[in-house]
């Protein structure tokens, strides 16, 4: 057990509870549009972010809240941003997909793959003005098919930039199973772009910490970028209120709305031959079924619970820590909701 595990667990738990608070705000209707959580990817974020220091930069995707929190940004400011308050992190102008912190050199984007160019630019600045500093890009496996991200891997390699490209592979791009639209192997792809690739279990925070530790050292010492490929699982599906999960969780309410028009369309005259139609129907069902199958709540896939298991060896300390974090987050929530500006 690495000595870091306690602090990594603390980071992860804090993030989990924080995001659960966000989910509550969202369900209560205090947050309006899309909301992508990072629950399930905490080990990846914690394993990497815990090693960042002043001058390091982060390019975040649509699930950036956790990274920003772990990096040290004020959680009340983040929540107030999500609530759209004028004293939120970005004055209510950004929202969860556009969290920006100049202080922590952290920039988010809702454009899939944009983390690549952004991290590369941050790293260029680091290489130029702050040798030893690095930049991290967090993105999903789906983003690996976006041209600008691939270009960025190559650019970071050509310029030998201090970037850690972190691919959080949950297997899904919204409702698409990424492997069905992705050729080859992502690690080989990264290597074919000149960036060494490291594979890691994204549910194991210690493993992520170790692997990224070496990669970050490499980057800090001027040896260039690394691609870190880490598998994980998103418990809430793509975003809160995700249709595929709703179907699975509450089929009686959700299925009719979907099944009726689907059947209707399947039976409608005009269109493909029966065999083609059946193939089409199968594809739709397959998407639903694979959601059913992937057992997001299996605790083996929950990085927080996995780390906790090890720490159970010291239950007193664990209890104390958990109480403290729970309290902290409930304070955060209370402050975030207090003094709603008029």
């Amino acid at each position: 057990m690495p000595s870091e595990l306690w602090s990594l667990y603390a980071l992860m738990l804090k993030s989990r509870l924080f995001e659960e608070a966000i989910a509550k705000l969202w369900h209560d209707g205090l947050i309006s549009g899309e909301m992508h959580l990072g629950t399930g990817e905490e080990a990846i974020i914690a394993g990497v972010v815990s090693q960042l220091r002043k001058g390091d930069a982060m390019a975040l995707d649509h699930r950036g809240s956790a990274a920003l929190l772990m990096r040290g940004a004020d959680p009340v400011l983040i929540l107030r941003e999500l609530l759209g308050y004028p004293d939120g992190l970005c004055g209510g102008m950004g929202g969860h997909m556009h969290l920006f912190s100049k202080e922590y050199l952290a920039a988010s984007s809702g454009i899939v793959g944009a983390e690549g160019p952004t991290a590369t630019g941050f790293a260029l600045s680091a290489q130029f003005s702050h040798p030893g500093a690095i930049a991290v890009a967090f993105f999903g496996e789906g983003a690996m098919n976006q041209g600008m991200l691939m270009e960025s891997l190559n650019l970071a390699s050509a310029w030998n930039l201090p970037v850690l490209f972190v691919c959080k592979d949950d297997g899904w791009s919204i409702t698409t199973q990424s492997e069905r639209v992705t050729g080859g192997d992502l690690n080989e792809r990264a290597r074919g772009l000149g960036v060494p690739a490291v594979e890691v279990d994204g549910c194991d925070v210690s493993e992520v910490w170790e692997a990224s530790h070496s990669a970050i050292e490499r980057a800090r010492s001027g040896q260039g970028p690394t691609f870190l490929h880490a598998r994980c699982m998103h418990f809430e599906g793509h975003f809160l209120g995700f249709q595929l999960l709703r179907i699975v969780r509450d089929p009686f309410r959700e299925m009719p709305e979907i099944a009726v028009p689907l059947t209707h369309s399947f039976l409608r005259p005009g269109g493909a031959a029966l065999r083609e139609r059946v193939a089409g129907l199968k594809k739709v069902l397959a998407a639903v079924l694979s959601t059913l199958r992937d057992l997001r709540r299996d605790s083996a896939n929950d990085p927080v619970r996995r780390a906790r298991k090890t720490l159970l060896s010291d239950p007193v300390r664990l209890q104390e820590l958990e109480d403290q974090i729970e309290q902290e987050i409930s304070h955060v929530l209370a402050s975030a909701l207090a003094e709603v500006p008029s």
Partner: protein, 336 residues
């Protein structure tokens, strides 16, 4: 006559066209689930999912159209065209010119646009005026289910690239997918006439490039597209009480503009208010004023548009998008 929701109408017209024309195929990210009804009827050869590679699959749609197919390429949001504009700017729009008129790319790019549900400035842009700047692109922005279906049919018959913009605030499907996520705790300011409406039993094409006067008016002409049309209609109704007669012209097609309809309406009222959810500068609102000036019509002019990046916070967003209050105030000012 049937009553359909906005996106339902588009899908229904598309299905009718697909049944008639085997060259039509549909692809884009998550299309197997988003267009599951088409998938179950037309099969996986014609309804396909793509990787998150807009440049590749939009460009492929352009070339597939050149080679004889009639692809409907779906892009998740108009904002994301930023990553793949080359396919439109330098290819789709230019094939006909480059080939000396001998070859065209009849691709339909179907893409949600617009705001009003709190998704922030990278996901709620309109950009129709921006797209219309490029010669060779046809840009459609329907505001009702009937027009949406009819224009989709027209787009599929058009012999060149068409951008078909689907306003998310009019779309029950997109609003649920990207906005509420089936919550009952949030509400959006959805124009009822735009979200749901009567449509023909069998779709007929709505002509491209023809505006429609949604409401006649003697004092001022409000020209708009999409959600703006409904906002304008509401304000026009309210103004009636005050004795101000405001007409509302729904362009439906941004490019090519129905200049005749604009000129006729404005020549009569001598007052033009443009309500445009797209950005104010260098766009539709400016082009309309040029149309008027070129025709030598003299008129009072104002515009209610989006002037800045769209804020995330709902109350700020509401202020920045063309809302009833701003439209109302502008008309009052034009009447002075």
């Amino acid at each position: 006559m049937r009553t359909l929701f906005f996106t339902q109408a588009i899908d229904d017209a598309l299905a009718q066209a697909m049944a008639d024309d085997p060259r039509i195929i549909v692809f884009g990210e998550d299309i197997p689930l988003l267009r599951r009804n088409l998938l179950a009827r037309f099969g996986p050869r014609r309804v396909r999912g793509t990787p998150i590679s807009e440049s590749a699959f939009l460009g492929a749609g352009v070339a597939a159209a050149m080679a004889g197919l009639r692809p409907v390429v779906e892009i998740y949001m108009v904002d994301f065209l930023g990553v793949c504009m080359d396919a439109l700017l330098n290819h789709a729009a230019k094939v006909e010119a480059f080939s000396g008129g001998k070859w065209t790319a009849p691709v339909v790019v179907r893409v949600p646009c617009g705001g009003g549900y709190g998704d922030g400035g990278q996901h709620e842009q309109s950009l129709w005026g921006w797209l219309a700047h490029i010669p060779g692109l046809t840009v459609l922005v329907p505001s009702t289910p009937a027009d949406a279906g009819g224009l989709m049919l027209a787009a599929l018959q058009h012999d060149g690239p068409v951008i078909f913009l689907e306003h998310k605030l009019l779309s029950e499907t997109w609003l649920e997918f990207l906005g509420s996520g089936a919550r009952r705790t949030v509400q959006y300011d959805v124009p009822a006439e735009g979200a749901k409406g009567a449509v023909l039993q069998n779709w007929e094409p709505v002509p491209i490039g023809k505006a429609v006067l949604r409401r006649a008016g003697d004092d001022v002409t409000i020209v708009s597209v999409g959600v703006g049309v409904h906002r304008a209609l509401e304000v026009a109704q309210a103004l009636e009480m005050e004795g101000i007669s405001a007409g509302v012209l729904d362009l439906r097609t941004v490019s090519p503009l129905d200049k005749t309809a604009v000129r006729e309406a404005v020549a009569q009222t001598e007052r033009l208010l443009v309500v445009d959810e797209d950005y104010e500068g260098f766009g539709l609102s400016g082009e309309l004023s040029a149309v008027i000036l070129e025709a030598g019509i003299s008129c009072k002019y104002a515009r209610v548009c989006t002037q800045t990046t769209i804020p995330y916070a709902r109350h700020l967003e509401n202020q920045i998008l063309p809302n009833r209050e701003r439209i109302y105030a502008s008309v009052r000012q034009l009447m002075q």
